[in-house]
């Protein structure tokens, strides 16, 4: 796996040390909230490519270069309960392969029950068109 990681090419401008070492390749199904069916380029714009506030830490800065995905469909439902802006979004399911980039688990941990426990940051490799692996599904 280490060989795969070292062979990645990341998009231009990504800061040194990003993605972090604990982000790992995975073959995994993932859910992404999208606005278009089929998903379009605008559904896969990284936070760094949108207007944003400057990050306060290197870790936050690095996460701006990643896309968010959930790996548990129950988290999609929970996220829509919490965040009204997600209610009108469509849900797309995709299969991420190791060559598509690296992922890091960034859960929202609550006391009694873990919610949004499957949220992951996904750093997509240079040249991979993320929308091609996702299709809108009904949960």
């Amino acid at each position: 796996m280490a060989e795969v990681v070292s062979s990645y090419r990341w998009p231009e401008g990504i800061p040194p040390g990003c993605p972090p070492p604990d982000a790992q390749p995975a073959a995994i199904d993932a859910y992404r909230l999208v606005s278009k069916d089929p998903p379009s380029d605008t559904d896969f714009v990284r936070p760094i490519d949108k207007p944003h506030e400057p990050a306060e830490t290197a870790e936050e800065e690095c996460s701006l270069y990643a896309l968010s995905v959930f790996t548990d469909p129950a988290d999609v439902d929970l996220a829509q309960q919490f965040i009204p802006g997600f209610k009108k979004k469509l849900v797309a399911l995709g299969h991420i392969e190791p060559e598509h980039g690296v992922l890091r688990l960034v859960p929202l941990s609550l006391k009694d029950r873990p919610i949004l426990h499957s949220h992951r940051d996904w750093w997509v490799t240079h040249g991979f068109d993320a929308k091609t692996t996702f299709a809108v599904v009904t949960l």
């Binding site: 909230l33 606005s35 605008t42 714009v45 990284r46 936070p47 949108k50 207007p51 944003h52 506030e53 306060e56 996460s63 701006l64 896309l67 968010s68 996220a79 309960q81 919490f82 965040i83 009204p84 802006g85 997600f86 209610k87 009108k88 960034v106 929202l108 609550l110 006391k111 009694d112 029950r113 949004l116 949220h119």
Partner: protein, 387 residues
Amino acid sequence: MGRLTINEIYVRYDGPRLFSCVNESGGYFLGLFVEEDDNDEVFVFAPASSDRLNAVRSGQMPLRHAFEAPLDGGVFVVRSSKTGLETSTERRRAGDIPTDWLPDAAARLNLETPTAAPLDVEQLEAEARSIGRTIAVFELDGPWTTTEFPLRPLGEVMRTIQDSIDSFAQVVTNNQTNRGAIQREILDETELTFYGQRAASFAFLVASAPRDRLFESDLVKRSLSELTTLIDAASSGTLEETLGRLHPRALSKYRDLLEQLDDLESGLTAIVSPPTGQGTRSTLTLDGVRDSLELVRSSLGPDVEQVTIEGQLIGVNARTWSFELLDERADRRYSGKTVDRARAQLLGLTIGHRYRAQLLSETELLPVTGEIHHKYRLVEIAPLHSS
């Protein structure tokens, strides 16, 4: 609103989606992503005091309420361009925002939210030296995310700690009695006061009672050390031997404390900071509580026995896990708490129906008179087929 800085992010998905932020004047806001179109993303910001923020992040208050009923009745709607840096801000009455901009009614955060000063052991040790009194901390696993604890069980735990310390003082001064009141001179020396509360998850502080003297007797410290020795013995495998030093009164008080912890499903950490010498910290996990309880009961020998009764169920309280049964033939009532493993059996029972119950019968010394009475814990209950 002024210039905002993010204080804490609760939900992040391609950037902050639910977060708290603070402006230059120290005013807090809860920010929430509510809508987007091809050009803009829309966020609603609800002003929040730090108390309101604690209520939301601890889960005491539903998230929706913070946006539906902000403290000053208004929210700010911020529309920010996806392509440029243009933003527009509009103040609206909370009642005027569309309902589909609100989180679901059931959505609650449930984050650990300390609402008391954090526990600082070094500071506590310095304080004990400074005031010349022993300070002890008892840390419990609280049921809530805030630094709060239900009053009734907390009162019971506090009382049992005092009773235990009094009886341990009999051990360290070699003045053991199993009946009657504890010697006045011991009670005078071991009296504890409630001294404060800390976040850790819930910790209460006690101190030796203030007295008109420069140096406190070391009896409080030595008696508290008996307690920490018992706690430590549970993890070092020497509890049985340590319990052998205790007389029945001290054993039954320690059993009462362990039962209260068992009922609360809480472990216990005790930190003792004397005015002179080294402080100690001892921790009993919930498993340790249950293992210790078994050993203490067997050390009490004939004072603890299991009895089977058949009778009518008179009452059940599923909140406090208490029960009351009437053995009609003997015209005798049995009431008490239900042990953890029998609680599921208690749910769904019918008042007035007859049941067969296994009870743990334990002798208890009344703290003031030293009189003995029996207390019961329900271990198992099943319907009688004839009922």
